[in-house]
Every structure is written in C-alpha cells, then in structure tokens.
C-alpha cells in the first residue's frame, strides 16, 4: 500500500489526468461555456453543459494545465475569485433547468495574490458554499487530484463526494501545514502522514462516500466514474427538492465528532 506522501506525489504528478480528460471520457457530450458575467472568464475553473445518455448535467471543474502554456492560462489550477463567481452563475442556471451538478476538484488552493484579495477571495469562496447549500438539485463532487483548503471546499458542498484512490483532500498543503505547525516546510512528508488526507482517511471520517480504485488503465477508471455518477444520480433523483437540501445539511452537520469535556 502507498504511504500518504506517495499519494500526495501521485496526486500532484504533472502527467496525472485532469478534469477535462475525465469530462471527455465520462460524458457523451460536453459544451464549455465561459464567464462570470461581471468582469472575467477565469480559466482555472471550467464550466459547461454535459450529457450521459439522456441525463443532462452542469459541470463545474477545477482544471490544471497539461503543459506550461496551459498552466499559464489556467493559473496552475489556482482559482481567483472570478472563478467562484462563474461557478455560482452556473450553479444557479443548473437549478433553473433542474440539471444535476457534477463538480471536479483538483487544486493546490485558491490563489493567494494581491488582486485576489482585493476582489474578495474569501467572500467568493464563502458565497459559493452558501449558494451550494441552497441548491434544489442533486450535487456530486469528485476529487480527482489535489483537494487543498478552502479553494477546494468552495465547490464541494455536495450530496455525494467521490474520491479517486490516489487523490488527496486536506486543510492545506503538507508544506503549508508543516510550516504553520512546526515552522519548517521541509517536514512536509512527515506532515502528510499525520494529516489524514488520503481517500481512505476521508472515507473513515464519513466525508467521502465512495472511492474509485485506480488499478486499471484510464479508460476503465473513467468507465467506473460514469457508472458511479449514474448510480448516485438515480438514488438522488428519488429525493424531493427539500430532501436534497436536508440531505446535504445533515451530511455536513455530522462532521466533527466531539466528546464531553472533563
């Protein structure tokens, strides 16, 4: 079995499949649509319409670049506030047309820059989660690579969370964690082992509902993902609009066990 650090390295591997690779394989059709309708189209989050069979979806996906040029375009998959505002626009549109939403998570975190702060990075993340909480359509989140900090959580307020076996999901990067707790970012490897950031850890915490194994080649993993999406949607489609909201509420309400204080 891989160590947590080995999974961190796998999740970050520049050759790892990205959201658009999965979208292309998993869905029968996909049309990308752009822009936050305020000021910008931030390419670190890709949005659009997709279909499997006769089921339509709205897609919201964090996208890392697959080469240097694309990484420049996509800001290395680190969203600015405009990305989250674009995501919110597509969430609301999905609700209007009763389309389930699939989000793909793969980010080192929301971009920490001067302009991002000026334009309200914190507000954009908070608002994205807030709007997701209220949506009357089924939401599935799939963590495919790095799910790091509030930047990942912003598009993950879902009814079901699926994680690839070698994906990670954490409060912060292991480097950042080691830097804050031990003032030494070189202890990232040690931090990764302590942080409980693997798919299995997240499943044990009941945050993640399903893990997709990564033993086979890419096309098999994509096929499995397609099956999981369809089976989850079938289950969630049974719920009324209110039940969907309550289901999401109780999922997150339960996270964070506590005990009586002595």
């Amino acid at each position: 079995m891989k160590t947590a650090w080995e999974r961190v390295e796998t999740a970050r591997n520049p050759n790892r499949k990205t959201a658009l690779d999965y979208i292309d394989k998993v869905f029968d059709e996909f049309v990308e649509l752009h822009g936050d309708r305020i000021s910008k189209d931030d390419a670190s989050i890709v949005c659009g319409l997709a279909r499997i069979g006769d089921q339509n979806f709205t897609i919201i996906a964090q996208q890392k670049g697959r080469n240097t040029k694309e990484n420049m375009l996509r800001n290395f998959g680190m969203p600015n506030p405009e990305s989250y505002r674009k995501a919110i626009r597509f969430m609301k549109q999905a609700e209007k047309f009763h389309r389930p939403i699939i989000t793909f998570v793969d980010t080192k975190g929301a971009y920490p820059g001067i302009e991002a702060e000026e334009r309200g990075q914190g507000e954009a993340i908070a608002k994205s989660m807030f709007e997701m909480s209220k949506l009357k359509v089924p939401i599935i989140t799939i963590v495919i690579g790095e799910g790091s900090s509030g930047g990942a959580l912003a598009i993950s307020i879902a009814n079901k969370i699926i994680m690839l076996e070698n994906a990670i999901y954490s409060i912060l990067s292991p480097e950042g964690y080691a830097s804050i707790l031990w003032k030494d970012s070189s202890r990232a490897q040690e931090a990764a082992e302590k942080m409980k950031l693997t798919a299995q850890d997240l499943h044990n915490f009941k945050i993640v509902d399903k893990i997709i194994e990564e033993k086979d080649e890419f096309s098999k993993i994509a096929e499995k993902m397609r099956e999981e999406i369809l089976s989850e949607i079938t289950e969630l489609s049974e719920m009324s609009q209110n039940e969907l909201i309550e289901h999401r509420y109780s999922k997150f309400r339960k996270i964070g066990d506590y005990k009586e204080r002595n």
Binding site: P112, S133, G150, A154, I171, F252, K259, E260
Partner: protein, 277 residues
Amino acid sequence: MIVDKIKKRETKNIRPSNKVDIPVGKWVKCDKCKEIIYKENLKENNSICPICGHYFRVSSKRRIEQIIDEGTFEEFDLNIDTVNPLGLEDYEKKLHSLREKVGVDEAVKCGIGEINSTKVVICVMDSNFLMGSMGSVVGEKITYSIEKAIELKLPLIIFCASGGARMQEGIISLMQMAKTTEALSKLDEAGLLYISVLTDPTYGGVTASFAMLGDIILAEPGSMIGFAGPRVIEQTIGQSLPEGFQTAEFLLEHGFIDKIVERKDLKNTLHKIIELQ
C-alpha cells in the same frame, strides 16, 4: 491558520524597566506607541490605548461585557471537547494548559444576551485561545448558535477574531467552514438577520465562511482581514505588500464590508441596525 505576521502584534505583559517596584501584571505596553499603560486605564478606555488610540485585542469575556447588557448573558451549556481526530500527541495537553492560562474553554463563547434590552444570539471568538482557530468545537458551538437563533427567531451576531481553520484537527477543521455556512443558509432562508463583526485578526477559513456571509458586515478600525496571510502572499508574488493592505479600511474601499465602527460605538450601532430591520 495565518499566524505569522499577526502574532507579532500580540500584546505582552512586560515589567517596566524603571527601578520602582511596580507589581507585575498591572501594566501593559502598547504595541504601537510602545508606551507603558496602566491596565485599569486600558480597561476603562474599551481596551484602546489612551495615548495613541491603538486597538488592543479583546478577550471574549471582555467583549461580552462591552456589548451585552449587564447580567443578561446566558452562555449556551455546551460542555464539549475535541476527540483529537488526527491523534496529535501534544494537542490535548496544549488545550488543557491554554484553558488554565487564558481562562476560557475554547476559542469562541456563545450564548443569548440583550443589547439595549433587545435579545440576540451572540458568538464571540477569542484570539487569545490558539489564535481563535476553528476546530470541531468552535464549528459545533457556532452551528449550534445559528440553529438556536433560527429556533428562537432571534438576530445573530458573530464577532470574528481568528487565524482561520485549526491545523491540529486537519480536514475536520476545514469541514467546519461547510457546516457553519450550511447553517447560515438556513438562517437566511428563515429571513433572520445576521450581523458579522470583523475584528483583528480575521483570516483564512473564517473569512472564507461565516465572516463574509453577514447580511451586514461591520469591522473595527485597523483590523487585519483577509483570506491568505500576508507572508503567504509575499512568498507567492515575491514582493512586499502595499501599505494598508488587508486592513478594514482597505476592505471598505473595495466594497467588502458595510461599515467601520469604532469600538465605543459598536453596541449602539448594533442596536440601531437591529431596530431598523
């Protein structure tokens, strides 16, 4: 949790260097003007330096005294503790010693009280306790308070003072952002008022959840407020930050807060806003 630059601004008890025998603990040094101030004078002046006007950070206990009518505060009876989800060796010990040292149970105090005879649910974060960081207990206490506000149909006020999500509880801390935000979406649907008051410091996962979700967002002058911490941004962009970056005034200018309110006016401003609903 962003503790780097912020921590340097913490106040420390220091013994004045003159030879007169002054009892330790009765004096503090102002971080800004470096003058030595008598603690009683500081307290009478709303924890603002009487010499240069610098805002000292306020404990949750003192804040409740400043905002809530005397004798009306009833703390929610939530006697809860973390289960230490990452199993860190010294975490529980640290919490234990902080409780003795700081004199509060956790990084937030929550309850019901009156502001000029108007009943509210109030949560006050305490930066003296692990930099006000949010773990499972803080997340639970805040969520419980939001649910109480919904049940009792009362306005909700949260005083934020936090470095962000608590590292020691890892992903569980991150998820408290989701949990509190979900609860606030219910409060919103119930048509109830939520006023968020940002005080120094408000950062990270707290900024990116309930701090920025107030129907009305107030801030104390000069408070440092942001998502990413100053050091992280400097490292990312490779240059130092402009003067006044991430201050309450900066946020007001960029349209992210409603109003900056001086400490002495906070209680009456909160009351006025609630009355105007």
